[in-house]
Amino acid sequence: MRLDASRDAFTRGMWPEGLVAALATLAVAWPLTDLLREDSWFVPAVLMVALVALAGAIMRTLDVPPSLVSLGQLVLGLVALSQVYLRDSLWRGLLPTRDTLLLIGELLREAGTVLQTYAAPAPTTTGVAFLVVSLMTLTAVSVDSMGVTGRAPASAGIPLAAGFLVSVSNSGQAMEPWYFAAVAVLWLIMLAQQGHRVLAGWPSANRREARGGDDVTANVPTYRGLAQVLGALALLTAVVGAAAIPHLPPTFLGEGLARNPDARSAGDGSAQVSFTETMDPSRDLRNQSQAPVLTYRTNATRLEPLRVTATERWDDGRWVAPERPTSRLQGVDEPIPRPAGLDEAVETAQQQVTVTGNALDLPHLAAPSPLATLQLPGDSAYRFDPTDATVVLQAPAEQYTATYLTITGADLPEGVGDTPADPEQFDEEVLEVDPVSADAVAALNEEVVGGTDNALQAAIRIQNHLRSAPYQYSLTLAPAAEADADDPIGGFLETRQGYCVQFATAMVMMARAEGIPARMAVGFLPGEVQVDGTRQVIASDAHTWPELWISGMGWSRFEPTPGIRSEAPPVYARTPSSTGDAAPTTTTVTRPAEPTTTSAAPVPEEDSGLSALWPTLWRTLLAVLVLALLMALVPVVGRRYREEAVRTAGTPVEKVEGQWLLLTRSLGDLGVDEPPARSPRDMRRYYREHTMMNRTGEDALGRITTTLERSRYAAPGHVDDTDATRMGDDVRTVVEQVREATPWNIRANAALLPQSGLAGVRAWVRGAFRRR
């Protein structure tokens, strides 16, 4: 007996189902192992999923109501989550406080930045781990609630698919099929488990007669074989079919990890640029959009690139956007200091740009460097980061004016670049050469720089070397120079093929190897001049260049990228001896204007930006609202329609008929069809057969039909108003009783979308047409 009870409890707990649901949740997260660099999220995620699944199974075993099971799982999951990630902010380590919310916001913001900034694999910061683990906890709760507790494994596919698509939506290329297969197989197992439960629950229980080997109950068969065949075939169809069906190029709906550079983006039509976050303009360089990012006028004769930001951090084969702690910034709208290290003796002139259109995202601002002053419109403000001379915009500025210094003469005062930089004054990072490339860089330096001690001369030699013949500008990289190769810099120096990033990186590394502090600046080329004299910068004008610290000049721009997609070097970086070398290379450079990978031109009109989506969304929302309003009208119309005859009735006879109509229509709403037109007694019998009423209800019905009978067949004057009134009360009694005996769904239907309402609408429409 006890054994039976415990077995029942175990069955109720649905432990195997819970296990499969948990595994399915984990399988959804499997692709993340490729997208995130560290696996620090993994153990907490597994533990959380296991905790949720276990809690669910135990609560089900203890026969807790389903809604409480889900709620319990959710609460438990959130508590555990906060214990792991938000412990410091909890009051006495238990209750969440305002700090908790702030901390959550901070973690999520951090995660958002990381996910938008990095290409896969992204570093797993605490924020990212928090995001991933909480998403998985929520997925686990919803999958378990729907699929196991709610016994609807089919709908459990929704959170599974949603979680799965999160990792899919940014890779563009299809993931390896086993990621998909793992989730699909587990989900199918969930479905099959339900099917098995149906099968096992089908036979009548406890038939004592069942005995003997040839009895149908001897061994209850299962669908296992058919399920395997069906599932395997479906999976095969899916994987093979998806590979066979031609797809349009992927469309991205948001920024994020693992962007495929060939991808179209929903934001493509606008002038969105991504390199300001990723420090890699390759995607922007391929951007076909002609929408201006910046429109400006300048009085300068020599154009300077527009700098946005700079970074010193080279990490694992790519540049990483700088962290910009607020503490480092100057106060709001404080004047920009004179560039550090720029000697008074150097001849400079102030130039001005007036930007009239700015589509760059906050907090970025593009202006030539070094900046002298910045005038923003009244509602905007900036803060300046002196460390890397970056302007941090506080509020959007459509227009602004910036003045900047240019070094005018090629004749620099004596001694510029003579003093080697003092490493003490700089971050370690500006002098750090990627160890994997150090040998290749050093070997090249040996050959290129030779014996010069002057930093400026060394820099010019490096620059000129990179601009010279064997180096070729190309958006297509050799595999060895790809960012995820073992040694991208070494690979580039060997293959000598790349775009601005590779050239700039190589120069930065070579300079650092020479002891010259160097960093990587990102921004835009000056853009094309328009008929009205303004200049327009588009997304594909994105550019990167190295900035080296030269004594006497401070941080100075160099231009190692050859070809049309770059600028001529600054005046100070040109040497008479090198111009001869540089000039021919510029002509030999072939401009790979149309990389083959962009052959799939964006489908016009198809991808509108989010801003373009807004009207559609609004319209949809409006339509839904109008529809909801119309639906809300139906019950009102229904009420009118039911009581129509009562309202217009004048004589007692009409009132009685009206009440009868009210009764038939009200009962019609509750699913009792109108009785066939017979005598009142027959109709009474009909209603008694088709409804469930107690004695009072039946008596009321009897009185109703008697009154109706008298009103219809007795001599006039046999019914009066009191009869009609009493009949009204009886009608209410009957309807109320029938309503009570009706299942909730029919009752809900009668309340929200009553038949009488629809009939009323129909009648009204018909009436409206007839009147016309």
């Binding site: 479905l191 149906v198 099968l199 009548s204 009895d215 068969p221 069906l230 079919g241 991808a263 179209r264």
Partner: protein
Amino acid sequence: MRSPWALLTTRGKLFAVVGAVVVVAGVLLGYEDVTRIGLVLLALPLLALVLMPRRTPRVRVERVVEPSRLAPDERGQVVARFTNVGKRPTPLYLAEEHLDFQLGDRPRFVLPRLVPGEDRRLRYAVRSRHRGAYPLGPVLLRQRDPFGLTFLTLQLSSVTEILVLPRLHSLGEGRVRGTSRGSEGEMPQMVALHGEDDVSIRTWREGDELRRVHWPATAHRGELMVRQEDRPARRRALLILDSRASAYPGNGVQPSYEWAVSAIASVARHLVADGFVVHLLTDTTLRDGSTEHPVELDAALDALARVRPEQDSRLDRLAAAAAPFTTGGVLVVAAVVAHDEQALRTLAAIRQPGSRAMAFVLDRDRFGTRTDTRSAARREVGETAATAAATPGDGDGSTAREGVALTGLLADSGWQTVVVGPHTDVGRAWAALGSATPVGVR
């Protein structure tokens, strides 16, 4: 042929539609993984449809019921044997033996995959509280797939009938006093009535004595005819069952009608045991003409097991059919409802003066749905028409008065009657009937 779409469950339809939409979305947006999801959703119902055999399987069903005829509340054992007589294996079915709910829960079982020639047995018990002929079967087969995407209902049409006989009550040891014209005691031997009794002369058979040859007949027929002198005289009884559906109160299983059937069946058994030749007169026997022939007890019980109240049944038709018997002076036992004065009078008139007729008169009011059980219990057995006439029912006043008048109507015409209610024991009612003084015989 059913359309494949109709074979899909809601889940299957949803999968197909959502799958198609997702595939289109995946192709347009360019995500192969999305397309995969859509294809799985789309492929599942399609494959399930393809892999699903839709033909009714060739499965033979043989049922053996032990015992073959059941008494009410008796437990019967059914063994159904399913044999695949087709050439292909059958798929897995969720099967349900279709039974009348009176017989108990419908046994549900999983009919496993059967290879050709394989057979499986299903054993289950049936038990009915009510008499009747109940079909066992057909077998409903529900076919679904492991993922619940398709659903198909098939039927194995084989049906076996199980008979639940009316409840029989012991009517005691007392013999029925013979009654016929001019006799108070034993019913005399009766020769040459209608039917087979007229054949008192028959052809000669080996072993017949020559002295019994009936010469005139032999001369007339041209072959040896003998007198049949030693034909045993049988006493006869005509059992009349009132089956007017409108007369019996209530609907569904009407306890009053069951009471009447049960009483008639008990009387039939009692009379057959007592040596009577029994004729059964109901609307059914009237239609198939079997009234004229005496019935064996088994056949009578079979007929009574199947009999049902009928909407167009009329008492005067029964009365007309009974007339030939009563002129011969048979014992008439009727179970009638005190309803419809005209019909009752017609029935009452069939009793020939001096012959014996008995009736269980069912009091409509006491069987009425709203009968207070306590007041019904007070009016217990033994109340004959005379005493019962005084007690009004508690239904509508008019009906009660009418009922009181009607219950006495047969007794007024010289029938021995007993007015019965739902709690009247058949045996005691029979005893009361035997002791009642027939008015007309005085």
